[in-house]
Symmetry: C2
Subunit: 151 residues, 2 copies
């Protein structure tokens, strides 16, 4: 810990821009989803992941890993979505400990209704402002970090 490697200007600029932008964008998305559908961003992401999954269902732990929230946060949100009728819990046939989160028809319809407005925000502030090259560089850069963080 004696020889600290500080960030030079290029590195610091990149890190600061990444940090601010991710927080700003998160806030904007949260605002849009709340206004349009009363959903939080994690809730929306849960619906998306389930819609993409085979049989529209997923194990709790796997889902938590995908959405990047703690197990307890997922338990809370699934309970919440269950009360809203968008998701159901089912017992896992292969593992008695397991719980499956299943997207309901209402959940799917909700997602289809909300997705356009959400994607419009993602486009308006991020995707549509970047060139093809920038998009690709971002993917490779982020993927390297993601892989490292997932061990």
């Amino acid at each position: 810990m004696t020889d600290t490697r500080w960030l030079d200007d290029t590195e610091m600029a990149a890190w600061r821009a990444f940090l601010s932008t991710s927080h700003l964008l998160e806030r904007r998305i949260e605002e849009q989803l709340k206004a349009a559908a009363g959903l939080t961003h994690p809730q929306y992401e849960i619906l998306v992941r389930l819609a993409d999954a085979p049989d529209r269902q997923m194990r709790m732990t796997e889902l938590a890993r995908g959405v990047v929230v703690s197990k307890s946060a997922l338990t809370y949100q699934i309970t919440r979505l269950e009360k809203a009728g968008l998701v159901e819990r089912a017992t896992c046939p292969s593992d008695d400990r397991g719980v499956l989160a299943v997207l309901t028809e209402a959940g799917l319809r909700c997602l289809e209704r909300v997705a356009p407005g959400h994607l419009a925000v993602v486009r308006a502030y991020l995707v549509d402002r970047l060139t093809r090259d920038e998009l690709e560089v971002m993917t490779t850069a982020m993927s390297k970090t993601e892989r490292a963080l997932r061990e």
Copy 2:
């Protein structure tokens, strides 16, 4: 809302990678700061901003904008940091409504003590994994989005 522009593969890959990575990195940083100094990431960012500011002080609203948190969240955190002796509140000479958050000596020492470990994480998972080009592309890309989001 009738003609939805979905994301193609390149766009979706970039967006998903960005989203997951920002959340994963946030979690990792939070974990490191908590273990090393009992600080949250927002708290650390507050210290950084104050250390960079003239006279190591800043108006509450300006600080909230910089760190990207709500005004009430900043009030909460400044109160917290004040109790820890890292920050003080001062009255603003030019505006009787205003409050200045001022970094104390202890706050500065705390920051200097914590920064190396924090930067090591930022390096290990992000900065050191990217090429010079990737860093620069990321800065321009993120800056475009940031500017748009700050209106």
